[in-house]
């Protein structure tokens, strides 16, 4: 095929793509227009049915709770896979003949006190916000996932302030493993308990409270959000802690 023929073929293909694209574009609904039946249907009943004013959480942990279980286990599997791939096998040693430091003469800059102070200042507030988000999914647009990642960020700030050893001591791997398993398993278990009560899987069987939007309202939605929160925080800490360990081991072994 000569370059010229190839160009022609490309032109034909592009013309077809543009035509189809414009055709599809002309048939799009207006900006912000939502023709589906589910949004209005859910908005009409969500507060009376669940007492949760955090409608997004109600959808995530109640109306499509089964999907969320699956998503939960994606992260769980990622963290577990990471631990399995990067684990140290019995009898396995870091290769002693591994190359020396990549740039032995580089200056490793000390953490500046500005970074130390700022990150340490933010540890407390970040942890509080993360915890608050994970435990208030029923009252406002937050949720376990958001709370969990922000909670994990608080620990990363400890690392950023130059305290890897404190970071590791605050988040020992055995504890993270346990918390992650409790979070992921707890979510699934909340659903299974409903089955044991001859209700549909993930049916909201806990008392819904009387005041919509109260922290104590919404039954299983609040419980699941909290479990997701600790699971996500533990999973992120595991993944990043594992990577940090790998990088630091390499540095240490080669310096």
């Amino acid at each position: 095929m000569t370059p010229r023929q190839r160009l022609w073929l490309f032109a034909v293909a592009v013309a077809g793509l543009v035509a189809c694209y414009l055709w599809a574009f002309a048939g799009l609904p207006g900006f912000g227009d939502y023709p589906g039946p589910y949004g209005p249907a859910i908005l009409k009943r969500v507060i009376t049915e669940t007492n949760a004013t955090g409608v997004v959480s109600a959808v995530n942990f109640e109306y499509r709770g089964f999907d969320t279980v699956g998503e939960e286990f994606i992260l769980f599997t990622a963290a577990a896979g990471m631990s399995v791939v990067l684990r140290q096998l019995r009898g396995e040693r870091e290769r002693q003949s591994s190359p020396t430091d990549d740039a032995a003469n580089r200056q490793v800059p000390a953490t500046s006190s500005a970074i130390r102070i700022v990150s340490l200042l933010f540890v407390g507030p970040t942890a509080v916000i993360g915890w608050w988000l994970a435990t208030h999914a029923q009252t406002n647009p937050s949720g376990g996932f958001q709370g969990g990642v922000i909670l994990a960020t608080a620990f990363f700030l400890v690392y950023l302030s130059g305290e890897f050893i404190v970071f590791r001591r605050l988040s020992p791997i055995a504890l993270l493993d346990a918390v992650e398993a409790i979070g992921a398993g707890g979510f699934a278990a909340v659903g299974v308990i409903a089955v044991a009560m001859s209700l549909p899987y993930l049916y909201n069987y806990l008392p819904l409270g009387t005041i919509p939007g109260a922290v104590s309202s919404s039954g299983t939605i609040a419980a699941i959000s909290f479990l997701v929160g600790i699971e996500v925080a533990a999973a992120f800490l595991l993944i990043i802690g594992e990577l940090l360990e790998q990088t630091l081991l390499r540095r240490e072994g080669s310096s």
Binding site: V56, A103, L133, P141, Q146, V149, I150
Partner: protein, 84 residues
């Protein structure tokens, strides 16, 4: 200006910024710089979600896209970096 007009301008501005940011991410060749650009891009996406009234997604994107993902990438680059 009506609140709706302000909202429209904000939304269009953010969309343009996100498009520009995505282009910049694709055009950046240096890996370490790429991670920093990606982090800024995550921040832009978070603003996009906020302007389009999805505060819950904003929080996720902020923590994952602007912090966790760049951190994971940086650590990986530090680990696999070739001897110079």
């Amino acid at each position: 200006m009506t609140p709706n007009a302000v909202m429209d301008i904000l939304q269009v501005t953010v969309l343009v910024l996100v498009a520009a940011g995505a282009t910049l991410v694709v055009r950046t060749r240096d890996r370490v710089r790429l991670v920093l650009v990606l982090s800024v891009y995550g921040m832009l996406l978070a603003i996009l979600f906020f302007v389009f009234q999805a505060p819950d997604v904003t929080l996720s994107e902020l923590a994952v896209g602007a912090i966790a993902l760049p951190l994971i990438l940086l650590l990986t680059i530090a680990k696999v970096r070739k001897p110079q």
